[in-house]
């Protein structure tokens, strides 16, 4: 629990104490070399993506300076304008869909998780034990095993190929409920709730004005996890959507990948579009993670099963 609230960027007391006594610089050098290797490995694919997005179709295949360095000419802006206009701007539509699904599914999942977690933590209702065991069991059910049955069910009621076929199933987050329950149990004191009840506060006002503000760090964590989970989801939208205008960007890029192999670009280098499209699609989440470091660095340690 402490990790949720503790900012990780303050160095631990032990590190400060040992550096005061003077660590051997040799060991630190070794550690930094190791870290530098790791950074190179983890960043190299992104570097490749950035470099490649400045190349045109033929530059991708034969670049004088190799695949990991800039080629002749700088075609990033040409590539971007092709990306946004190709096929009547379908790429922008995919990005908008991804955003809609991620926010719709993510916010929905968070609201449900906060309410349910609060109920599990603070109310003693009939069937609570059984419901909570069911919830713990559900955490262990692999979500992809539900995709095909969900598709068949949704097609039975004519809901496949609609935005709801992606958003509604994405609202299911048993692990989010579990996190909220554990967090609310400690963060919202019973005494405080009882005192407010004595003063005549209604249960719903109590939730919004007393409990919710205390649960904020966990709310941000669950929101982030479920938005990322839905944004990155691939299997569900691939199964339930067939109209390419409804695709999120993950399914869309993969559609291009399939077409590029079959040379169906219609004169446009689809490989260039895939590269630039991939780069543009990862910018929002990376920016969000860099900007919201304060929130996720502790919170993410609570994890996700998605």
């Amino acid at each position: 629990m402490s990790v949720l609230t503790k900012p990780l960027d303050t160095p631990p007391a032990g590190a400060a104490a040992s550096s005061k006594r003077g660590k051997r610089p040799k060991r630190k050098l070794g550690s930094h070399v190791f870290l530098a290797f790791l950074v190179l490995y983890f960043v190299m694919p992104l570097w490749f993506l950035i470099v490649s997005s400045t190349k045109n179709g033929s530059g991708l295949f034969s670049s004088p300076n190799g695949a990991l360095w800039f080629g002749d000419g700088f075609h990033l802006f040409d590539n971007l304008s092709t990306l946004f206009t190709y096929n009547d701007g379908i790429y922008l539509r995919w990005l908008r869909n991804s955003l809609l699904y991620a926010l719709g599914g993510g916010i929905g999942a968070t609201v449900l998780a906060v309410l349910a977690g609060y109920a599990f933590a603070k109310f003693d209702f009939p069937g609570r034990r059984l419901a909570f065991s069911l919830l713990l069991g559900a955490v262990m059910v692999p979500m992809t095993a539900l995709v095909i049955p969900t598709f068949i069910m949704l097609s039975g009621v004519g809901m496949t190929n609609t935005i709801w076929a992606v958003i509604l199933p994405s609202m299911l987050s048993p692990f989010g409920v579990y996190l909220m329950r554990v967090y609310a149990a400690d963060a919202v004191p019973d005494e405080l709730l009882d005192a407010a009840r004595m003063d005549g506060a209604g249960e719903f006002r109590l939730f919004f004005q007393v409990a919710l503000p205390l649960m904020r760090p966990a709310v941000v964590t669950v929101l982030l996890l479920s938005v990322v989970g839905t944004w990155n989801n691939y299997f569900l939208p691939l199964a339930v959507l067939s109209d390419s205008r409804l695709f999120p960007v993950t399914v869309g890029i993969n559609l291009w990948q399939g077409l590029a192999g079959a040379n169906n670009g219609g004169g446009v280098s689809l490989y260039t579009l895939i590269i630039v499209g991939s780069l543009v699609s990862i910018v929002p989440l990376i920016a969000a993670f860099l900007g919201l470091q304060r929130y996720w660095q502790g919170g993410l340690s609570l994890g996700s099963l998605k």
Partner: protein
């Protein structure tokens, strides 16, 4: 989750309510119950509709077969006996099991080594490194697989320039395992590193001081103190990694077109179920495979958590 249970939880469901609460409950038991359910209801509805119903429906469908001439008929457990004698399904299961044995240790070693080093040095560069190692988590698995597909590709990638004509093709039948291991490790090790790093940061540093006085070196501190103290976080990471690997889908699906046939339509159970349903319209059989996979993963993870419950804490 890992760090949550290191301290005894006062709110454990087995513990009796304190006296005050008990008195309160007698007075307002009914309304408390109603309000509790009111808060739970929205989630309960989604839970029933999108978890319980698909599971039951999948089980129901899996008990039927559909022939072109015969129509739908009750088949009992026929689909399951077919699955467990279907080489495509069995090979897929065997593939993910073998793959787990390679990719899970790979991810955990990289994540643990990175977390231990990051925990022991505090510098501007180490903070930067922590972020960079984590970044692939923010990249969808599909996009990650697309990028690595380019990097592996003989016509685009840097391998050809490094090794010339002897460049290994990491998606050939012999190298497929390494190709996948690399993609998955790259994608997830940073996320696991963050979980382990947070657990390491939660250890009281005075423990290290005591060990140093007793003459322990940093290697001994790492292996004898740090790793045992974060064992619950390690188990958590192992479970995440196990659940993820058994469901392996996006990467093989995305890399199929460029693998020159090394990746078949039945490489993992999920890919097989997807192809059965959407290529061959065998929804009943696909449901049986989905359901079987779900049950196998559920039982596997449950047994694992039960066996490690003293250290883990999820099932406490």
């Amino acid at each position: 989750m890992a760090t949550l249970h290191t301290a005894p939880r006062p709110d454990a469901p087995t513990a009796g309510p304190p006296a005050g609460q008990r008195r309160r409950k007698q007075g307002r038991g009914r309304s408390q119950g109603l309000i509790g359910w009111a808060f739970l209801a929205p989630f309960a509805v989604v839970f029933l509709v999108f978890l319980i119903a698909p599971l039951l429906y999948a089980f129901y469908l899996s008990l039927y077969t559909k022939g072109l001439a015969t129509g739908e008929r009750f088949a009992g457990l026929e689909n399951y006996s077919r699955a467990f004698s279907d080489p495509s399904f069995l090979n897929g299961v065997w593939f993910v099991v073998r793959f787990s044995f390679i990719v899970i240790p790979a991810q955990m070693i990289v994540a643990l080594a990175a977390a231990l080093v990051l925990d022991s040095v505090t510098s501007r560069f180490s903070r930067f490194a922590r972020l960079m190692i984590f970044i692939p988590y923010a990249i969808p698995a599909v996009i990650g697989a697309v990028i690595w597909g380019f990097l592996y590709s003989p016509s685009f990638g840097p391998l050809e320039q490094l090794f010339g004509d002897d460049a290994p093709f990491l998606l050939s039948p012999d190298n497929l395992f390494y190709g996948f291991t690399n993609v998955v490790t790259w994608q997830w090790a940073g996320y696991f590193m963050i979980i382990l790093y947070a657990a390491l940061q939660g250890i009281d540093p005075s423990v290290y001081e005591a060990a140093k006085i007793d003459g322990a070196g940093s290697w001994q501190i790492a292996t004898r103190i740090k790793i045992p103290m974060i064992s619950s976080a390690l188990i958590l990471v192992l479970v995440f990694s196990l659940i993820g690997t058994l469901q392996f889908f996006a990467e093989p699906q995305v890399l199929t077109p460029i693998s020159n046939g090394a990746i078949g339509t039945d490489i993992t159970p999920n890919v097989y179920a997807f192809n059965l349903a959407f290529r061959f319209a065998q929804f009943n059989y696909a449901s049986a495979i989905s359901f079987a996979l779900g049950i196998v993963v559920f039982i596997g993870v449950y047994i694992f958590l039960f066996a490690t419950r003293k250290r883990g804490g999820f099932l406490q």
